[in-house]
């Protein structure tokens, strides 16, 4: 059984933020928090259950952006018309998270706050230049997700802040994208390596514009591979070019060896994943 704690059930967002300021640990989907509590990694004294806050489950749009509440589940992202229309890359990432049960419960906000280098929603969000919205009793601030994530399990969230939303620019119709993940099997597998790729593509000239690439699980944080992006910018993506650029991926990642794979293997897999993604998107 879980260790005893005090449970706070906020009536609105202001109460939730106040509870966080008072030291309560936020409960979103619970798929990570409960596992960590069961394993004895953490033993919160106070938990604030966010599940009653409907506004955090909403997916909205404005002219430029899709705005996702932090309690939107991976399943919500997979099924939403808005995300399927404008954020296909994120949909692809969320579809590979855990299992149907985990996707129906686990949230985008939880996936981000855990700051696992292997989180499957994160490479798409980084490649899409997403921003996180942080709320506290003092107000709101926004930050690019790439700056927000600073290490395994570490973010720039202040102790009194709650992640309440994710703002992502809508993809353009001419942009192509792919999330590709290597895991031990297709479900419930933590990524060994993954890549999110997005770029503008003219099918006639095969020219690539504004590429964005982010690798998952091959460094302490998910970052844009700016050097590779520079190599791709304005290039005609024929097979030879794709191969040459993909092979350079090993130079731009910083993986570790762990129980899932060695650093050398991960480096090779970055090349393969990028090659497969570019091939599929252009041929």
């Amino acid at each position: 059984m879980l260790k005893a704690f005090e449970l706070i059930r906020p009536g609105d967002l202001a109460e939730a933020v106040a509870a966080v300021a008072d030291g309560a640990i936020p409960l979103a989907g619970g798929t990570d928090l409960l596992v960590r509590m069961k394993k004895g990694i953490i033993a919160p004294k106070k938990i604030v259950d966010l599940s009653g806050l409907k506004e955090l489950r909403e997916i909205k749009e404005d002219e430029e952006n899709i705005i996702l509440g932090s309690l939107v589940t991976h399943g919500d992202v997979v099924n939403s018309e808005l995300t399927n229309k404008y954020l296909s890359l994120l949909v692809q990432g969320c579809r590979t998270v855990g299992s149907p049960q985990i996707r129906n419960t686990g949230t985008l906000g939880g996936n981000i706050i855990n700051a696992s280098p292997a989180a499957d929603s994160v490479p798409p969000l980084v490649a899409l230049g997403a921003k996180v919205v942080l709320s506290s009793v003092n107000g709101e601030r926004e930050m690019k997700i790439e700056e927000f994530l600073v290490g395994p399990g570490k973010t720039l969230k202040r102790p009194d802040e709650l992640l309440t939303g994710i703002v992502v620019k809508k993809m353009k119709p001419e942009e192509r994208c792919l999330y590709r993940k290597l895991g031990q099997r297709k479900a419930l597998a933590i990524s060994i390596a993954s890549v999110a790729v997005k770029f503008g593509f003219d099918p006639v000239t095969k020219r690539c514009t504004n590429p964005a690439i982010a690798f998952g699980a091959v460094g302490p944080v998910v970052k844009r591979a700016v050097e590779l992006e520079r190599l791709l910018e304005q290039r005609i993506l024929d097979q030879q070019t794709i191969k040459e650029i993909s092979l350079k991926a090993r130079e731009f990642c910083d993986p570790i060896s762990d129980i899932r794979a060695s650093a050398e293997y991960r480096r090779e897999m970055c090349c393969s994943l990028l090659y497969e993604a570019l091939y599929e998107l252009t041929c």
Partner: protein, 164 residues
């Protein structure tokens, strides 16, 4: 520890319980309502033995804190049979012999139920995805997949007025 009152629907009946907040949905289902069809396997969301429906969607009840079901509908394996007759999925699991030790069966059926509620005509790939969070350590997956296909067909035949 201050208790919490949670109102929810369990297998179609409204319930209001006042319990310690550190209980999972699985513990409440098994220990308070004594519905032991839902099993605990790993307790960490890896095996799917504890799968129930929350508002019609499959979830691992071992990873749901009881306060999270406030205002929601919970369906367990016991909630599938209606008026003394089993659900088409239960019937097809029996017909296809999709049972070995039986421990994963309730979870498998609940994941399949979640799928059929959304998609009455699933492909084999869609069935595999739907049960990808459920482990069968007897590895009887082939017959489980057949049973789910059979249930989908039987439901459709029933709706068309044919024999089920």
């Amino acid at each position: 520890m201050e208790k919490v009152t949670v109102n929810f629907t369990l297998n179609g009946e409204r319930q209001s319980i006042t319990v310690n907040p550190n209980l999972t949905l699985l513990e409440v289902i098994r220990d308070i309502f004594e519905l032991t069809g839902t099993k605990e396997g790993c307790g960490h969301g890896e095996c799917g033995a504890c799968t129930v429906l929350l508002n019609g969607k499959a979830v691992n009840s071992c990873l749901v804190l009881i306060s999270q079901v406030e205002g929601k509908e919970v369906t367990t394996i016991e909630g599938l049979s209606k008026d003394g007759s089993v659900d088409p999925l239960q019937a097809s699991f029996i017909e296809a012999g999709a049972i070995q030790c039986g421990y994963c069966t309730p979870g498998m059926i609940m994941s399949a139920k979640s799928l059929l509620l959304e998609n009455s005509n699933p492909s084999v790939e869609e069935i595999k995805t739907a049960i990808s969070g459920n482990l069968c350590r007897c590895t009887g997956y082939a017959k489980i997949i057949k049973a789910i296909q059979l249930a989908a067909r039987n439901v459709k035949a029933g709706e068309a007025g044919g024999e089920v």
